[in-house]
Symmetry: C3
Subunit: 468 residues, 3 copies
């Protein structure tokens, strides 16, 4: 406020060009890299007719597109509407939640197609993509959306894009270590998406700690309609989570099983969330924050094990526990994290993603370790854990050990990566939001005037034309 | 208000523990029962590889998952977003509509998996589930959501859970009688879901009649944004209804046909609804209530016959009629039901589900009775009506008679069941809402303060921490 | 205002009966025409068992329903929720946007099934329909929703219905010329849907030019929540656009490829839209109008070429360019169109559909002209462009020429058709909105009172019953 005016104007001019420059530069880089590396995979290429003959497929319906496209669209909705609207609860930051989520996800999926492609779909010098790559890119960006939840309202769009660039990179490395080097199963991403994404975001928000956020505390509340908008996000995440956990599982029984396990876990989670929300509140009221968030923990917590023979009642147990842990987290841990550890976690991702993600990793390790040929069938056992080739000799208990190792690796990557990226984001070149502007649209987005009407930014307004 | 304070506090303490206790107790019961009874069906079990060989299936795409999962997700959206948001029109009960719908549906689907499983998927002492069970559980809960529409805003969450428990049970019994004993076709549930659900709910709300609801009449209105939220519910129900009616039809032509018939019926229904809404209103205005509700009657009214050879023009006729009946119902019947029969029907389910459900049952009976081998083809005729085994000798006209009997049974079950459950809900142990609090968030949900901002319930608010 | 009162009353009475009459008359006409012409296609007919045998299909999963139904539902959501909510940004016209879009689309799809059926699915005197007809009907209506965007808030529902009737007719003729006579490829409808729909709508709004709209300029703004509602429309259009462009492509690789190309194009489009939005605004702010609209241009611009071997990086380039063109259009062209050419384009469809549609047509022509057997494979080449039968000799460069001719034909049809239909809409018999009522609910829809509460139209209100 007391800043000399000309300095502010200079900064403004600088700001004005920074976001366009970064966006355009990165898009050009994407075009060049896609041009050099990315091509259609055999099932999306016009040579598919020959491919079909070679692979002895009798029908077009055998194309992976028909196995995964409906799930892909559900996942797509989760990333863009689910995460976007879940974060609209802040009364003055609805545009920021939906808009910046849109921006970072659109950028992130392009970079993720490349990073994950180099690791997993690289053949003859090209990345060959199909619908599974799109799903994986969405998954990868999901972990960025999670981290975004911790720093929501406190960063500039440039900072978000920089974080996205680094987080997608680290995600892909971590995923490669887990899936390829450790040969770990994690189809729904309890470890790779949720544990990694959440602890990464929490570390970043710790590094970016602002002691003076008190002054914008009143903006961290919600209003009636913003809470109903947030329920749109909640419900789409909740309803489509079975698609999330089953989207990249093996064809057939594995996809089917993942969907059922996730459905069961989520249903149970709602009940225990409501129970503990009511129990831990004064007067037994239900807390909208819990209903919006903790009800989803059941999806996170079966992310690793959903495609295994967790069984429906196993899923109910896992869902029940995760709902309790998550709700208790909102009531007790979040205030503790903020006051003692200086971790300002806007959306409470520690409760929705971090702890349930850990539960998911552990449940996955136990379920894998407990697998028997009797339960899975001889062929099913090998297929479920990919115990072929160099992993032919792996036993369930060894697999369980590797699964556990996967949790540790994800945590280490998240802490180390988050610390480094947090440090980078602290560099003064990105232009962060002033404390008094936190949790409020404005900055790069149109501000919400006091009377909740915004004429400034709308081109239809004839008196204040939008042109420069 | 004049109640002694200590009594109020005692009641409060009691209230505070009741919802948690019921939720937790029931979730534990679900876990135990699932543990004893529920297992994966052959298409979701890891033994699927062997199953495939036995059944001579050459591809994973033959798994029922790929036939039904996209429809399942659409139905899932209808239950949780469709019904939830359709009921957000009340200006002060948005949380209650979406939140309690979420709670009862999450509980209901678990109990439905068990109840319907015992009746239809019980083999060797276990309930073997697959994606079709999930759809059926959603369907069953759909009938509870319908009944919820009649008592919206007038009951406590405990009462809703108790109603759900009983209604799911009765639904499953009724469904068993219709589908198994009477061998009736009802894939889209005109009788089992809509007629049963609606008359059940209307009977319950009759039993719970409150003469003094006048004082909260002003809260029964809507506001601009609550009406737009409600349109989200309307549109998702309208768009996905073809999936609803086709979700559990036979593979192939039956699913295909159901979707087309429903699409046609719904399109016609919009036109006649708009026509009659405008015609019956002063000044020719359209009524948002009709647009939100009566436009859906076309989906209900072809619930039984959509999978039959109703033909597209038949669907247009049925849709047109149901739109008219439903709109006329809102204008004339609902006020009559309330003033003369003391049936307070908050959402007007009599117009959206009860009457169109009856039409659906009747149209189904007629379409079945009119079926000929010429129209269906020899094989198609047998397949469409499952005229195999003990039903080999059944003729279309006999089938029509049984279909009609299905309507009567559903009505009797609804009236008798509704009366009993209504009586149970009147017991003073469940803690119902005081008349002055009806149609208003608060009670178990955070209240909406006058200025439409609610700081009370949000954990992000530092001054009023959410911890107890 | 100064109009004599009795005349107003007479007009009112006339108004009151006009909308009902038109709706009912047209629905009756639909029923008669469907009765005479429309039957189930072989894959939706109960004779399917015999059909399967004849066509040597071994599984029900070969039914076209399973190839296209998930995409159909996504397209359905785009038409009803996507377009409907995209237009809710006007602060006082939310009901009109969603409600009238609902009305015209529901009517339009019925008429489109007939019109397109006569041209494309007519066999033995009957129109044989399946899921592809439903998608095409939705597509056709999509072009009406686009045109609706230009005249949003300025027309009566009758005028909209009349426009729908004519536009669907002209759309079908244009589509027939392009697809059948010119043998042009346009699966995602860059030319048939977007170019035609947008220039048709722009011509109509030019004809209906109202010089005195200034007085309702303040209603053309948006409010905070209306802009968030609009983001629901934006996101659903953005997320499901891959389904839109792939819905009617050939089975297998073509559908797969269309989805990937569209995904890439849309992702790139978001980045360049944000860049140019920030760059062209004072202070570097992002403009919600651009985020809501220009981010979608990437889907329009690959509508023709998405099913071709455009390649992912080609899609990124097309998406990037279209985002820039669209954003620049909102800033510079829209004000120019209004002030100089008297084209009042409420939603800016010139920027979202017209220009990107032209780009899409041109990119399609170039991609077709550049096709080689090397890139497509011998069989893939023939399959992709349908170079069979009488088109066996067509070369890529000739095909490119025909594609370009398709653009010209679409433009001519749009201008000529729009001029005629605009003239028809100017006839005084339809009852258009008075200038002071433009962009405001009311007229045929319930008005929004100043305090944003509307008790008038809600049947639950006991004091002011809804009955006539």
């Amino acid at each position: 406020m007391e800043r000399p005016r000309h300095q502010g104007m200079a900064k403004n001019t600088y700001m004005r060009w920074r976001l366009p420059l970064v966006c355009l530069l990165w898009e050009v880089a994407m075009i060049v890299l896609f041009g050099v590396f990315v091509r259609f995979g055999p099932e999306a290429d016009a040579h598919w007719e020959e491919e079909k003959r070679e692979m002895n497929l009798t029908s077009d319906i055998e194309n992976d597109f028909y196995f995964r496209y409906p799930s892909f669209q559900d996942v797509h909705v989760m990333i863009f509407v689910g995460f976007g609207f879940l974060m609209t609860f802040l009364k003055r930051y609805g545009f920021g939640a939906v808009g910046f989520n849109f921006l970072l996800a659109a950028f992130g999926i392009q970079w993720a197609v490349l990073m994950q492609g180099w690791f997993h779909s690289f053949k003859y010098g090209k990345i060959l993509i199909g619908v599974e790559n799109l799903i994986n890119a969405d998954f990868c960006v999901g972990s960025v959306c999670i981290a975004f939840g911790a720093i929501l309202g406190k960063t500039s769009p440039i900072q978000l894009l920089v974080m996205t660039l680094f987080q997608v990179t680290l995600f892909s490395v971590n995923e490669y270590i887990l899936l390829n080097l450790l040969h770990v199963k994690d189809a729904g991403g309890s470890m790779t998406i949720h544990t990694f994404g959440a602890y990464f975001g929490l570390t970043v928000t710790r590094i970016l700690y602002r002691p003076n956020l008190e002054q914008s505390k009143d903006k961290q509340g919600s209003v009636y309609h913003s809470d109903i908008f947030a329920m749109i996000g909640t419900l789409y995440l909740w309803m489509y989570w079975p698609s999330f956990n089953s989207a990249i599982s093996d064809h057939g029984d594995a996809q089917h099983r993942s969907a059922i396990n996730t459905y069961c876990s989520l249903a149970a989670c709602v009940l225990t969330t409501m129970a503990f929300s009511s129990m831990l509140q004064k007067k037994g009221k239900l807390d909208m924050v819990h209903i919006q968030n903790a009800t989803l923990a059941g999806g996170v917590a079966v992310g690793t094990s959903a495609e295994m023979m967790l069984t429906p009642y196993g899923s109910l147990i896992v869902g029940s526990i995760s709902g309790i842990v998550s709700t208790v987290g909102y009531v007790y841990f979040t205030p503790f994290l903020e006051s003692r550890l200086h971790i300002q976690d806007t959306c409470g991702i520690h409760n929705l993603h971090a702890m349930p993600g850990l539960i998911g990793g552990i449940v996955g390790a136990i379920t894998a370790a407990a697998a028997t040929e009797d339960v899975y069938g001889k062929e099913g056992f090998i297929k479920a854990f990919d115990f072929t080739g160099e992993y032919q000799k792996r036993t369930p208990s060894i697999q369980g050990g590797f699964q556990a190792a996967g949790i540790v690796v994800s945590l280490l990557m998240a802490f180390a990566g988050g610390a480094i990226v947090g440090g980078i984001l602290k560099l003064p070149i990105w232009g962060d939001a002033a404390a008094e502007n936190c949790f409020e649209d404005g900055g790069a987005l149109p501000q919400v005037p006091e009377d909740e009407e915004s004429d400034v930014y709308h081109m239809h307004n004839p008196d204040k034309p939008a042109s420069p």
